[in-house]
């Protein structure tokens, strides 16, 4: 505590010195020549959390004896992306193949000039039809450059508690609950019904979790295609806000902040009956609800408003790379359907490649905890996702530091109107 200021100032000082020293690191178009077939090449690959590439890297090195890969793994996404932006700014220090999470993609697209266009330097087999079109298109800059190959996705479904549904007299079979999750209106109406029948138990975990999914389904998000803030006049956002805050007023929210210790405890405490569920959330639920709740959770192939995506990543090749061609080849190989299926088997990352979605290894994947064929179910949900929403610079930040805190404030007792104003003010401040 006592040395924070020195530390901060020092960090600032170092960062700025680095900035000052490399202020000329702008990306030129001069691509270095590709190495010969037998020339030794050292490549670095940077990922965060779990991509499931551990076994694939030695395999690639066996196939290409002249290439040596160093894999840098970071535990948490937040610090990883902060570091990424800093090194992007500094003009050096990024890996040849750098992973970027979908939530941070808008900030990276904004600096598209610092990345290679993979349609130009990538191998021919990494063609657009390899990926789901919405996944592929989301990594295009405004001027049409493709800066990332899709790795995995987080198609959305609904998870719910069978036992709690039963206690409140609601249907429990995955097919029979689908109508409840047909639209946001039906979802919140069912929630109000559940609250009254269960004598005041909460329907969902947190307002922000639903609101984010709702905003993601709109044609445009917080930032318009002109890169200007579009919150105040955006009827879609306003409607989503009204629906969610009404549900909070009716007692449908458990008022838990996602991923906080209290939220984690909420799974064990039976704090809520439904949950927005991207594919990777199943692992989180299993871990937090624990073996004692096995068989109580279920998942169904329905999502209010059609479908949606939350999460997943891309592999990019920054212009800083000394071997862009080799790096692009590695990224293309890792994101090919065959390899992504292996990553899926290793770590459960859900593939974004069209071919992988029909792979028997994926379709046959079941999860006893939820009593569902999860592979097939999420493959179906992945196909329901509409075209990607344009995300301008600062979009992710507005979600994290404007809308989510404002909804939390409403859950803590602020009026819906004051909360809306707080979100608008914070969003303005962020997008200045």
């Amino acid at each position: 505590m006592r040395t924070i200021r020195n530390g901060l100032v020092l960090a600032l000082g170092i960062t700025m010195t680095a900035l000052g020293a490399t202020a000329c690191g702008g990306g030129g178009d001069a691509t270095p020549p590709a190495a010969g077939p037998n020339e030794h090449v050292d490549l670095t690959l940077a990922t965060f959390t779990e991509f499931g590439y551990e076994a694939l890297i030695p395999e690639y090195e066996r196939l290409h004896p002249n290439i040596k890969i160093t894999h840098r793994k970071t535990g948490q996404g937040g610090p990883y992306h902060q570091d990424l932006i800093t090194k992007l700014a500094a003009g050096s220090g990024l890996a040849d193949v750098t992973a970027v999470e979908e939530g941070h993609l808008s900030d990276v697209l904004d600096k598209g000039s610092k990345f290679n266009d993979l349609t130009k330097i990538g191998p021919a087999d990494a063609s657009p039809d390899r990926w789901l079109s919405w996944k592929y298109d989301a990594a295009k800059t405004k001027d049409g450059k493709l800066i990332g190959y899709g790795t995995d996705i987080g198609p959305l479904a609904m998870c719910y508690r069978k036992d709690m549904f039963q206690d409140a007299g609601l249907p429990t079979d995955p097919e029979q609950v689908k109508p409840l999750f047909a639209s946001w209106d039906s979802y919140f109406a069912a929630g109000a019904d559940y609250v009254s029948k269960s004598k005041g138990k909460a329907w969902f975990d947190s307002a922000a979790q639903n609101f984010n999914a709702m905003v993601n389904q709109l044609p445009t998000g917080y930032i318009g295609t002109d890169d200007k803030l579009a919150v105040e006049g955006n009827q879609g956002i306003k409607d989503a806000w009204t629906k969610v805050t009404d549900a909070v007023a009716k007692g449908e929210s458990a008022k838990l902040t996602a991923f906080s210790p209290e939220w984690e405890a909420g799974f064990k405490q039976n704090a809520f009956a439904t949950k927005v569920c991207p594919a990777w959330m199943l692992g989180v639920i299993k871990e937090q609800a624990g073996p004692e709740n096995a068989g109580k959770w279920a998942v169904t192939a329905a999502f209010p408003g059609g479908g949606g995506n939350w999460g997943g990543s891309y592999l990019t090749v920054p212009t800083q790379s000394k071997h862009p061609k080799e790096a692009a080849e590695l990224a293309a190989w890792l994101t090919a359907p065959e390899q992504q299926i292996k990553a899926f088997q290793a770590k459960g990352t859900f593939p974004s490649q069209v071919k992988a979605l029909t792979d028997p290894a994926l379709l046959s994947k079941t999860d006893d905890y939820f009593g569902a064929k999860v592979g097939e179910l999420f493959a179906e949900q992945a196909k329901k996702v509409q075209k990607p929403q344009y995300k301008g610079p600062g979009d992710g930040q507005i979600q994290e530091n404007a809308s989510s805190p404002a909804l939390k404030a409403v859950e803590q007792g602020k009026s819906a109107a004051d909360g809306w104003q707080q979100m608008v003010d914070s969003a303005k401040k962020i997008s200045r």
């Binding site: 505590m1 202020a23 937040g78 902040t257 805190p405 404002a406 939390k408």
Partner: protein, 329 residues
């Protein structure tokens, strides 16, 4: 150092020398006296210059620019960052929170530290054990303390609210209410720092000569009178030191509020910035909004505020501990 007995001390007029002209060796030893001390203290100042003074000045330089991280050509804007800062309600909110948390933590902390020191100074069984015990919270990792306390203060499933409900009180939403969150954070700070300060005060108390207390006893002074007339004035330098270090630390509070936020990794300090401190806002400006110029301006304003408050403290503490009983010129 060489022993020098021929040289008159500087500024003394009495020792006018009538010895022969100084030899080279003589000159050398004279330089030795003049220059050596500076060489001995130089390492600190050189290191401080590199890691303290230079960043300080460079931060001041950066604060005059609109400098986004990744900007190849930052724009010089003079004092615009400061103008914007003084009109920024979020900054004033953060400053109010910081001062509120600082007062809620520092004042009880110092009072309790004094009392603890007095207790530890009395005759105890296993005195060393107690003294080590009091320092244990300081040895624990700050991050784990933050995580544990954030759990204890959880609004729904936190132990503290469970206890409150057990004794028939209403639970408090520690993270939602502004004052509640400040109290919770102050408790975290106190838990860690009280023992540390108590030990420093204890060391100073032990250094007070027994004779003074005995003399006061013979003069018929009671316990309280002895404390105010003997202990306090002699503790003055230590109290000033403890107050100023607490001030510097307290106004830079960062880790506790960051970990107290329910949203993992958030720098917002609560849903409506109800416990965002100045350093948290600084960090958010620099590393979340990548607005380095603005963050540097915040850093400098914070620096000036800390200097001012430390000076005020210095004067106040001096006042408090001054009594006519023991006056040394």
């Amino acid at each position: 150092m060489t022993v020098i007995d021929k040289i008159a001390p500087e500024g003394s007029k009495a020792g006018e020398r009538t010895s022969p002209r100084p030899t080279f060796r003589h000159k050398l030893s004279r330089w030795d006296v003049k220059v050596s001390p500076y060489l001995y203290i130089a390492p600190f100042f050189i290191v401080f210059g590199i890691v303290g003074l230079f960043p300080l000045l460079y931060t001041a330089y950066v604060s005059l620019f609109k400098w986004e991280a990744g900007d190849d050509n930052p724009v010089f804007i003079g004092f615009d960052n400061f103008k914007e800062l003084f009109a920024d309600s979020q900054f004033w909110n953060a400053l109010t929170n910081t001062i509120s948390i600082f007062l809620l933590s520092s004042i009880p902390q110092l009072i309790i530290a004094m009392l603890l020191a007095a207790l530890l100074g009395s005759r105890l069984r296993g005195a060393t054990g107690w003294r080590v015990g009091i320092l244990l919270p300081y040895a624990a990792s700050l991050v784990s303390i933050g995580i544990i306390f954030a759990n204890l203060f959880g609004p729904k499933y936190g132990l503290i609210n469970d206890v409150l409900q057990l004794i028939g009180l209403d639970p408090v939403d520690w993270q939602a209410s502004r004052f509640g969150s400040h109290v919770a954070i102050a408790i975290m700070v106190n838990w860690r720092w009280t023992g540390y300060n108590a030990l420093i005060v204890l060391a100073a108390m032990q250094a007070i000569p027994k004779e003074l207390h005995e003399a006061a006893l013979i003069d018929g002074a009671g316990m309280w009178r002895r404390f105010t007339a003997v202990t306090l004035p002699l503790l003055k330098p230590t109290l000033i030191f403890v107050t100023i270090t607490s001030t510097i630390g307290g106004l830079q509070i960062f880790t506790e509020p960051k970990l107290f936020d329910a949203m993992p990794g958030s720098n917002n300090g609560g849903s409506s910035n109800q416990f965002q401190t100045v350093t948290l806002y600084l960090y958010q400006s620099a590393f979340e909004n990548y607005n380095l110029g603005y963050a540097s301006a915040i850093a400098w304003v914070l620096f000036v505020i800390i200097v001012i408050i430390a000076l005020v403290n210095f004067l106040l503490t001096g006042r408090l501990a001054r009594t006519p009983a023991v006056k040394k010129k």
